[in-house]
Symmetry: C2
Subunit: 378 residues, 2 copies
């Protein structure tokens, strides 16, 4: 049921030239790591870089960006601002990013001057849900059946093809359930319009028992390491909780890790990525999507692993050896969203709980303010 | 053998007034924690504060202070600079410090305006080795025999009184073996001059089997929590390695924790302190000295405890509940001194090792550049 339209652009491949050995950067203050974006992921990456002694510089238009509080320098500029990008390229030895929707202009401005890790290809693949699905299938990963949708008639036809029910998603942007429409039965005449009349993808609804995710890392020399899969529970289409271990049998865990490894290798990836997988009733796995960055469902690693996902990403970005992803304890990570941060006393008093706040001032509804990880001895 | 001179000033007590409930500050960005000093201890404190969502401002004369890289603000001023101190007092909700030799002027400038934690008394006690010994004895802790020394004749008499051998230390300043003279037998005629002709203390040489230290914490409500004692090994009079567990039997561990708790209570302390103890052949303990701050021999806590000594200190300074000091694993923390940081590859490749660098550029001999903690499953 996977058909592609000829107008789907092949992802560009601007990986580093493979005939030269990839650059390795020293741990320590002689290395400055640039980060595009200054949210909580950049903040935690910057702290991991600091523990490795490295300097950091972020590019973020928000003068109050959470990461700015813990970085050596903050270039206050939009992600497509050529002057800001030039400044970042000049200041950093190597550049990474904290979100997948980095504009092409940013990569085009940075990549000729400074190594960008993970490779730009991972960005271009993950920015477009159709390209992403095609890539996953090409990499040997099973996905939900999908159909490209570029019009209301396309959309109606797709729902029929997919058996009368589907989730329609915009191909670009949209996250945490935004830019999505779930259809079962009659298709609203304004469905395509509701999604902004932009290129979309229709996906078959997967009847899954739960979602798990794998946080995987790949180094410049091709070595891979995956953290144990977490089981993810959502509220209002936003991740609420990640539980480790996932409760899945060993064969499912092994399959999940194998799929993440296939993806890492297919992308010739450098860094950490998060791969979301649906677990079906028969124990088989369907790839949902991946994020070419550290991932909310991997925040627990800071509490129970020798090397967190943030340090692991930094190690990969530097070209340094990956750390051990083994966990010494079980745990449950819970996001603190919006006004959840108004009541921290219980978390502060709970001896088994590790609190991590992002330094954001305004607890708007739906805004990720921090997380807590409850650690349980094995 | 403990005698005191009447000219020894009693430590001043500028603790917060005990008739008012001590102030509690929120975890989160509405609280700014000031730190006097900007070295590696301040750096790790600032990162712990950031994980609790708090803002930090440091006062340090060095524009390249290691902590400046991870703090919200850096007041570049000397510790006795009245303008800088006023700026710090205005910017911070509560102030702490990373070293015990904070000048009196600093506390005098800060304390009337902003809570200073740990209390100033802990500073005044620990700044003077004679006052410190007297305080430890008053708190019920056994110390080495000691004699005040204010002249060469005093010094010669002290060595006789202490049995023909002693360590003479300047009462103020001096650390890592600096400002000390070990005498056994004949006393050099220039001994007092060699120590700068400043007030000194002569201490009996303790025949100990090893040194251990306890990192203890006390909250504003008087609750205390101690991390497990570590065994400390020194090279060139500087801490080289801390090992947990210490290898001491349970009774010794319990006695060590009890002594740290007595000290915390006697000082009406708020925050984390490090108490160094000599273990004698019969298993009894002699208090060597304490530091009213986070301590090098507690760096291992970041690798194997839910709450590190840095977060624990920040929790206490905020007036928040203390965290659980339990360790999930055994470990060995090794300081990286000077050019130790030129060879990090082995540490980066060792899956059981957690590396922490301080961002210092120049690896001068004797300069603490970072540490590694090797984690061993229990």
């Amino acid at each position: 049921m996977c058909r592609s339209k000829t107008d789907v652009a092949a992802p560009s491949n601007v990986c580093e030239a493979s005939d030269a050995a990839p650059a390795v950067f020293a741990t320590g203050p002689s290395t400055t790591i640039g980060i595009v974006g200054g949210g909580q992921l950049a903040r935690m990456l910057a702290m991991a870089a600091a523990a490795l002694g490295c300097r950091t510089v972020i590019l973020d238009p928000d003068p109050e960006a959470p990461a700015a509080q813990v970085t050596n320098a903050h270039i206050v500029a939009h992600y497509n601002d050529s002057e800001g990008l030039a400044e970042l390229a000049a200041a950093a030895d190597v550049v990474t990013y904290e979100f997948e929707n980095v504009p092409d202009e940013a990569i085009d401005a940075l990549a000729p001057i400074v190594p960008v890790r993970p490779p730009a290809r991972a960005l271009s693949v993950s920015q477009d849900r159709l390209v992403e699905k095609q890539f996953l299938v090409g990499a040997g990963l099973r996905t939900a059946a999908y159909v490209p949708v570029d019009s209301q008639p396309d959309l109606e036809q797709a729902v029929v093809e997919l058996g009368g029910a589907a989730i329609i998603k915009t191909r670009r942007l949209g996250y945490d359930g935004k830019g999505q429409l779930r259809i079962a039965g009659a298709v609203p005449a304004t469905a395509f319009e509701q999604l902004g009349s932009v290129p979309c993808i229709a996906e078959a609804i997967v009847d899954f028992t739960c979602e798990i995710s794998v946080i995987g890392a790949r180094s410049v020399d091709g070595a891979t390491r995956c953290f144990e899969p977490a089981r993810n529970d959502h509220v209002d289409a936003m991740l609420a909780q990640s539980t480790v271990p996932s409760g899945q049998p060993g064969a499912v865990v092994a399959q999940a890790v194998s799929m993440a490894t296939q993806l890492l290798d297919s992308l010739d990836y450098v860094g950490v990525l998060g791969l979301e997988l649906f677990v079906l009733a028969d124990g088989s796995l369907v790839a949902n999507e991946f994020a070419p960055r550290v991932h909310n469902s991997g925040h627990w690693t800071e509490a129970v692993c020798a090397v967190s996902q943030f340090e692991q990403h930094m190690r990969a970005v530097l070209g340094q050896p990956l750390g051990d992803p083994g966990a010494h304890s079980d745990c449950v990570m819970t996001n603190l969203v919006g006004h959840d941060v108004d009541a921290l006393d219980g978390h502060m008093r709970d001896p088994s709980t590790r609190l991590h706040l992002y330094g954001k001032v305004e607890p708007r509804p739906g805004r990720k303010m921090g997380h807590v990880t409850r650690v349980v001895s094995r």
